[in-house]
């Protein structure tokens, strides 16, 4: 038995013994986010997280010294496979795991890592991201939230917007303005702040599509300690950029519709075609309205082309070629494709697409109409399409400024 085989046996044994029976096969899009007052999408969600965190397996590849699993990539894959075998859900999700944790591991001091990483791994603290401001959207670096330092204490005033799950989070990693007299990128400090204090107020944002996870966050003499500055005073832009790149890839993948499936054979199930058949009827086995049928094919063909391009990108990476800035195309194309798909569904549903709620409309109809409205934000959030096009023009095409 190789080392890997014995590792697999160990993992399998542990999971079979320890994982709550109840959580096997449980599928939840959102996952378990942890935090001080965690929401429990499944009664055993926290228990399952605790069991895994005990071994550091909520963050399998993170260093053991901070409570991580200390696994190498091959081992982590084994763990993943074994979880899949027992249909076990990921024990923990959230911005601690995906964003601030890796950032701390890269930029944090020893003290900062000791302080925050273990809590992230154990899902004790739920994190949110404080980047955008009402007047700093595409031009993030023009942010204004002012942090004033006096000895060890920092006082923060200003406003953040588009804070996802701000109302459910315990701590925020936030970009603050700490110098107004230098080039704007050079006066930004990356700060961790405890949201449980009187100076921090969070208000959920309602979108045109209805409720949303987004919030506005207001700082009125909110306090933080200088020990929670990451990468030094006025060193925040470097950290922010590293994080942003990560976020864009995530979004591209989300809107791509679940990523590439290299080995899939035959025509995949096409929900647009099914909708077309339902609302437009059939004639000789074809969707009766040939103009809409052609539009369905346009979107479907483009969708396939997009998935294949994501696959090609992955295959290139796997083959050891460097990733290029061309990944910007995924964000633009994926989000616009999603909008086109949603608009096409409106057209297919016709008069039944005007509803917000019943009576007279089915839930599938009103849900889709709201999804359409929500999709209009896809080309704005996470870097507008216009900014992405600028990036391609500059970095890929090397067109002059």
């Amino acid at each position: 038995m190789t080392d890997l085989e014995s590792f697999r046996a160990e993992v399998r044994g542990f999971l079979e013994e320890s994982a709550p029976e109840s959580i096997r096969g449980w599928v939840n899009q959102d996952g378990y986010w942890g935090g001080k007052n965690p929401e429990l999408p499944h009664p055993d969600a926290k228990r399952w997280c605790d069991i895994m965190a005990e071994r550091g397996w909520t963050c399998p590849t993170w260093p053991k010294e901070y409570g991580g699993g200390g696994l190498d990539k091959v081992q982590a894959k084994v763990l993943d496979q074994e979880l899949g075998r027992l249909k076990l859900p990921p024990p923990l999700t959230g911005f601690g795991l995906s964003m601030i944790g890796p950032t701390l591991l890269q930029f944090g001091t020893e003290e900062q890592k000791q302080e925050h990483i273990p809590k992230i791994i154990r899902g004790e603290i739920r994190w949110c991201q404080g980047y955008s401001e009402p007047n700093a959207g595409s031009d993030l670096a023009s942010l204004q939230a002012q942090a004033v330092i006096d000895g060890d204490e920092i006082t923060l005033n200003g406003q953040k917007i588009w804070t996802s799950y701000g109302d459910k989070s315990d701590w925020m990693f936030v970009l603050t303005r700490t110098d107004n007299n230098v080039k704007k990128q050079q006066g930004i400090t990356f700060l961790l702040i405890d949201m449980e204090q009187p100076g921090v107020e969070v208000r959920p944002i309602k979108l045109i599509s209805g409720a949303s996870p987004f919030c506005e966050t207001f700082f009125d003499n909110a306090k933080a300690s200088t020990g929670n500055i990451i990468n030094g005073l006025n060193g925040g832009w470097t950290v922010a950029k590293a994080l942003l790149g990560h976020e864009r890839n995530m979004i591209g993948n989300v809107f791509g519709g679940g990523g590439p499936r290299g080995e899939r054979r035959g025509p995949p199930r096409n929900p647009l075609a099914e909708l077309g058949r339902e609302y437009l009827g059939e004639q000789d086995g074809r969707i009766a309205d040939q103009v809409l049928r052609d539009r369905i094919s346009q979107v479907s063909v483009d969708h396939q082309a997009f998935l294949l391009t994501m696959q090609r990108n992955n295959d290139n990476l796997k083959a050891g070629h460097r990733p290029g800035p061309e990944s910007s195309i995924f964000k633009i194309y994926g989000t616009e494709l999603n909008q086109r798909r949603e608009e096409l569904m409106l057209s297919i549903r016709g008069p039944q697409s005007v509803g917000w709620e019943g009576p007279g409309f089915e839930e599938a109809e009103t849900t889709q109409t709201k999804a359409w409205l929500r999709s209009r934000g896809n080309t704005i959030e996470g870097g507008t399409s216009e900014v992405q096009l600028n990036i391609i023009a500059k970095r890929v095409l090397e067109l002059p400024e």
Partner: protein
């Protein structure tokens, strides 16, 4: 058919614009949306519109109207579109009122049309049924002969302005089957008749429509508007007129959304510069402007063609609705995109126009439907 406003129309445009700016800012629309009041519009504002003569505009003087035609009506629906005013001018005047004007008996006119023109009664036209798309032959709701009159049972949906209407013009089938042009009869159904009820619908565009439920509603033979079984032609004419009136509303909405976006482009700063300086946005704004200009032309032409009884009136109606549907969607999509994140919030007003654009698109036929109709009318 000159595509220009005459003096009377110019004055109407000025007073309509001023009245709507004064009495129907978007904040009013928002307040109506957020209120739980069943009516969904202001009866007070509607009565003022009637006092201004708006409810009389398209009707002949013989009917007690002002004889200003659709060319006049689109001027006020345009002004209403700018403010997203939910008052039932199109349902009561351009739809049910037109049906009575075109085919109603003297008695029906004096009982229902006259008070509608006065703004004292509000009427609605119920033709759409669940599962129907845009073809006006798809009427299945049956009216059966009963005691020399009719008995009506069934359900109509998306009855514009149907909540709180005083009477309905109902398109029912007295012969044939869904898909036939023949056998459709228009019937006048008072809201207080036994067996009539409505349920207000919640629409994404927050405009007003209702489900009309008819349970064994008994009507006399005098409820028939025009001739029994021959309602399809009247219905088509009425919906054509209503389509043009709606195109007027759409024209107002897209102009308002565009103006707001233009203001935003001139004021919003990113990267230390007003975003209106970015050439990519400028070019897109210029293309929207072109669409706005074309949209105005086709609305004016369609209204005048119907007023003149021109041979190509139906063709022009389809041109107008096809163009306006696409243009309103384009401009409001771009408006939200150019507003960025703030445009996605419910707190900001620009999203209302995007919602309304689609509501209008899916009413009386979308662009593809009207291009198909254009082709058929053009003989290919």
């Amino acid at each position: 058919m000159a595509l220009v406003l005459d003096e009377e129309q110019t004055m109407l445009a000025q007073t309509a614009g001023a009245f709507m700016r004064e009495s129907s800012p978007i904040s009013r629309f928002r307040a109506l949306r957020d209120s739980s009041e069943e009516r969904g519009y202001s009866l007070d504002v509607y009565k003022q519109m009637a006092e201004l003569g708006w409810t009389a505009i398209p009707f002949s003087e013989a009917d007690g109207g002002m004889g200003m035609g659709l060319a006049g009506l689109v001027i006020v629906t345009e002004a209403m579109g700018r403010g997203l005013a939910p008052e039932p001018l199109i349902p009561s005047i351009a739809m049910a009122g037109q049906a009575l004007s075109l085919a109603g008996s003297a008695d029906q006119k004096s009982t229902w049309l006259a008070p509608a023109i006065e703004g004292e009664k509000v009427l609605a036209l119920a033709y759409a049924e669940r599962g129907q798309r845009y073809d006006l032959r798809d009427i299945a709701l049956g009216a059966t002969d009963k005691d020399g009159g009719y008995e009506l049972s069934g359900e109509k949906t998306l009855v514009l302005g149907g909540q709180c209407a005083d009477a309905f013009v109902v398109a029912a089938r007295t012969a044939g089957k869904g898909g036939d042009a023949d056998g459709i009869t228009l019937l006048l159904v008072p809201a207080d008749a036994a067996g009539v009820s409505t349920e207000r619908q919640q629409r994404a565009d927050c405009q007003n429509s209702a489900i009309l439920k008819l349970e064994g509603v008994k009507l006399g033979a005098d409820a028939v508007i025009g001739k029994a079984g021959e309602g399809h032609g009247v219905l088509c004419d009425v919906v054509d007129r209503a389509t043009v009136a709606l195109c007027g509303e759409m024209l107002g909405g897209m102009n308002e959304a565009f103006d707001r976006t233009l203001d935003y482009l001139k004021e919003r700063k990113q990267f230390d510069t007003v975003i209106g300086t970015f050439q990519a946005l400028k070019h897109r704004a210029a293309r929207m402007y072109i669409e706005l200009e074309l949209a105005r032309s086709v609305v004016m032409a369609a209204a005048r063609a119907i007023d003149d009884g021109a041979d190509n009136a139906k063709v022009l109606v389809s041109i107008a609705k096809a163009k306006l549907s696409d243009a309103y969607a384009l401009i409001t999509n771009e408006a939200v995109q150019m507003h960025g994140g703030i445009g996605m919030t419910d707190e900001h007003d620009i999203g209302f126009f995007m919602k309304r654009a689609r509501g209008c698109e899916m009413t009386f036929g979308d662009a593809a439907y009207h291009r198909d109709r254009f082709a058929s009318l053009s003989g290919y």
